[in-house]
Amino acid sequence: MSQHVVPPSVYVKVFGGLTILMILTWVMAFVNLGVFNPVVAVTIAILKALLIVLFFMNVKYSSRLTWVFVAGGFFWLLILFFMVMPDYLSRDWQAPVQPW
C-alpha cells in the first residue's frame, strides 16, 4: 500500500503554528471581549484540532474512506452538542410545578 511521505519541514511548520496558537490562547485569556471570549477560544481550539487531524494524523493525505470516518467522528460530536443543548435551552419553558 503506497503511503504519502510528508517532509519533516511540514511537521516543524505545524508545530510552530500550534505553538503560536497556544500562545494566542493564553494572551486572549487576558483580553476582555465580553461574549466573544468563548467564541475566540473555541475558534482557536478548532484551528489547533484541524492542524493536528490534517497533518499529524495524516488525514490530509489519506483515502476518502478515512475522510468519511473522520467526518463521522465530528458528526457524532455534533450529535452530542445538538441534543444536549435543547435540554438546557428548554428547561425554563416549563411552568413551575404547583404544590398539591
Binding site: 452530542l80 441534543m83 444536549v84 435543547p86 428548554s90
Partner: protein, 546 residues
C-alpha cells in the same frame, strides 16, 4: 426434524495448529495471532466474570433477609458497585467482540489475521492493566459510587477509591477502541475475493456496527471520566454545583456512551444468534439485508436515546419527550431481528443442540428485556419505575438474558472450532436449561418487586418484599450452577472430548472450511475464494470455497 451429525468418527486432530505451534508462556504472552489473543481474552474475562459473580452472590445473600444481616450499608454499596464495574467494563463489553470476534472475524473474512496484530495484543495488555487497576481499587477498600459514577458524589464526596476505579474504566475504554478499530479496518480491507458486503456473515455485520459504537462513543466516556478526576483531584468546578458545575451535564456525557454501550454488549450477541439460528434450522436467514442494516440502525439510533435515563434528573420535559420518542424508535430494528430469526425457524429442519437452546433462550429473554425497556422509555411509567428493581430486572434481561446467553451460545457453537474437541451434548443441554430457569427465577421476581416499589441499591428493605427476594436469591443459586457446569465440561473436553473435525455442525461459512483448530495463518492452502451467498443451507451441492 433431522439430526445434525456430530464429530464423525474419522475426524482427526491436525498435528500442527495455532495452539500447539509453540508451547512456552512467552509464546502466548507475546503472540500476535488473533486466535491466541482471543484465548487470552477468554481466560481473562472468565476470571473477571467469577469476580463479578462473587459480588453478585454477596448482594443476593444480603437481600435474602429484610435486615442488613450480612453486610452493612457501606459494604453493600461497594459490593453492587464492584459487581457493576467488573461485569460491565471487564466482562460484558469485551466478551463477545474480544473473544469470539477476535477468533472468528479473520476466519470469517478469509484473512490470515486482523489488520493490526500488534495493536490487537496491545489492546489485551491495556485490558489487563485496567483490570489490575480495578483489582487494586478493590483491594484498597473498594468504591461505592455505583458503576455510573454519578457526580457530585463521585467527584467530591465519596471517600472511596473512585480515582482508581475511574482510571480502570478509562484504560479499558482504550482497549475497546483499539479492538473496534482493528475490526473495521479488517472488514473493509481484508475480505477474501468474492466476499462482498452482502455475502458477509451477519456476525461480521454485527461486529462492524459494534465497532462503530466503540470508536465513536468510547472517547466520550473517556473524557467524561477524566473530567471527574479533574474535579476530584484539583477541585475544578465541572459537575459539582457547589463549585459552579452541572451534575446533569455529567449524566448527559455519561449516558451518551453508556446507553450505546448496551448495544456494544448486545449487538455481537445478536450476531451470534443469527449464525446459530440458521445453522440449526438448515435455512438461509430470513431477510438478510434487513438484519444487516438493522445492526447499523441500532448502532446509529442507539446514540440518540440516552436521555431516557434522565427523565427524573431535572432534564427538560421537552427534551425528555424527544428522547422518549427516539427510544421507542430504536425498538424497531431490534424487533426486526427477532421477527426475522423467528421467520427463519419457520419450516426449518430444527435441531436442539446446546447452542440452539441458548439461542432460543436469548430470543425469549431479550424480547422480555426489550419490551420492558418500553415501560422505561415512556416518561409517565418511568417516573414510577425509576431506580426500582424493575430497572434492575430490565437491564439484566437484556445484558445477562441477552448478552450472556449469546456469549454462551457462541462459545458452545464455536468451541469445536477453537479447541478441535466436542463437549458432552447432554450435559450442555442440561446446563442451558438450568441457566434459563435460574435466570428467570432470579430476575422475574425483580420486575414484581420494582412494580411494587422496592428501590434498588439499598441493603435493607420492607418485610413485604422478602418472599420475592428469597425467590430471586434461590434462582441465583440455580443460575450459578448453570454457569459452573459449562466451565467443568469445557475443561474436561480440552483433554478428553471427542475430536470434532473441521465442521461438526455441517455449517456454512469460511471458518468451517479450515481445520479445527485452525493453523496459525487460518487456511492451509491458498486464500479461499467465495462463490456463494451467506447461509446457503438450502441450496443443494453449493460450496463455500472453490
Amino acid at each position: 426434524m433431522s439430526t445434525v451429525a456430530i464429530a464423525p468418527e474419522s475426524a482427526l486432530m491436525p498435528k500442527r495448529h495455532y495452539a500447539n505451534v509453540r508451547h512456552s508462556v512467552a509464546s502466548w504472552l507475546l503472540t500476535t495471532d488473533h486466535k491466541r489473543i482471543a484465548i487470552l481474552y477468554l481466560v481473562s474475562i472468565t476470571l473477571f466474570f467469577a469476580v463479578g459473580g462473587f459480588f453478585a452472590m454477596m448482594v443476593r445473600l444480603e437481600l435474602l433477609t429484610p435486615k442488613g444481616d450480612l453486610l452493612d450499608g457501606d459494604t453493600y454499596n461497594k459490593m453492587f458497585t464492584l459487581h457493576g464495574i467488573i461485569m460491565i467494563f471487564f466482562f460484558l463489553i469485551p466478551s463477545i467482540p474480544a473473544v469470539l470476534g477476535n477468533f472468528l472475524i479473520p476466519l470469517m473474512v478469509g484473512a490470515k489475521d486482523l489488520a493490526f496484530p500488534k495493536i490487537n495484543l496491545f489492546s489485551w495488555y491495556l485490558y489487563i492493566i485496567a483490570g489490575v487497576v480495578a483489582v487494586t481499587a478493590l483491594v484498597k477498600g473498594g468504591v461505592d459510587t455505583g458503576w455510573t459514577f454519578y457526580t457530585p458524589y463521585s467527584s467530591t464526596y465519596a471517600k472511596t477509591e473512585v480515582f482508581l476505579a475511574v482510571s480502570a474504566a478509562f484504560v479499558a475504554g482504550f482497549s475497546s477502541i483499539l479492538t473496534g478499530l482493528n475490526f473495521i479496518v479488517t472488514i473493509h480491507k481484508m475480505r477474501a475475493p468474492g466476499l462482498t458486503w452482502f455475502r458477509l456473515p451477519l456476525f461480521v455485520w454485527a461486529h462492524y456496527a459494534t465497532s462503530l459504537i466503540q470508536i465513536l462513543g468510547t472517547p466520550i466516556i473517556a473524557i467524561t471520566l477524566v473530567l471527574v478526576a479533574v474535579e476530584r483531584i484539583w477541585g475544578k468546578g465541572i459537575f459539582d454545583p457547589s463549585l459552579g458545575g452541572d451534575p446533569v451535564l455529567f449524566q448527559h456525557m455519561f449516558w451518551f456512551y453508556s446507553h450505546p454501550a448496551v448495544y456494544i454488549m448486545i449487538l455481537p450477541g445478536m450476531g451470534v444468534i443469527s449464525e446459530v439460528i440458521t445453522c440449526f434450522s438448515r435455512k438461509r436467514i430470513f431477510g438478510y439485508e434487513f438484519i444487516a442494516f438493522s445492526s447499523l440502525a441500532i448502532a446509529i439510533v442507539g446514540f440518540l436515546v440516552w436521555g431516557h435515563h434522565m427523565f427524573v434528573s431535572t432534564q427538560s420535559t421537552y427534551a425528555g419527550m424527544v428522547f422518549s420518542f427516539l427510544s421507542f424508535l430504536v425498538a424497531v430494528p431490534s424487533a426486526i431481528k427477532v421477527f426475522n430469526w423467528t421467520a427463519t425457524l419457520y419450516k426449518g429442519e430444527i435441531t436442539f443442540e446446546a447452542p440452539m437452546l441458548y439461542a432460543f433462550g436469548f430470543i425469549g429473554l431479550f424480547t422480555i428485556g426489550g419490551l420492558t425497556g418500553l415501560f422505561l422509555a415512556a416518561m409517565a411509567t418511568d417516573i414510577h419505575f425509576h431506580d426500582t428493581y424493575f430497572v434492575v430486572a430490565h437491564f439484566h434481561y437484556v445484558m445477562v438474558g441477552g448478552m450472556v446467553m449469546g456469549f454462551l451460545c457462541g462459545i458452545h457453537y464455536w468451541w469445536p472450532k477453537m479447541t478441535g474437541r466436542m463437549y458432552p451434548p447432554l450435559l450442555a443441554s442440561i446446563a442451558a436449561a438450568l441457566v434459563f430457569v435460574g435466570f428467570n427465577c432470579t430476575f422475574f421476581p425483580q420486575f414484581v418487586l420494582g412494580y411494587l416499589g422496592m428501590p434498588r441499591r439499598y441493603h435493607e428493605y420492607a418485610q413485604e418484599f422478602q418472599v420475592l427476594n428469597v425467590m430471586s436469591t434461590a434462582g441465583a443459586s440455580i443460575l450459578g450452577l448453570g454457569y459452573f457446569i459449562p466451565g467443568v465440561y469445557f475443561i474436561w473436553s480440552l483433554f478428553w472430548g471427542p475430536v470434532a473435525g473441521p465442521n461438526p455442525w455441517h455449517a456454512k461459512g469460511l471458518e468451517w472450511q479450515t481445520t479445527s483448530p485452525p493453523p496459525t495463518f487460518n487456511f492451509e492452502e491458498d486464500r479461499p475464494i467465495v462463490v456463494e451467498e451467506a447461509y446457503a443451507y438450502s441450496i443443494e451441492g453449493a460450496e463455500s470455497v472453490s
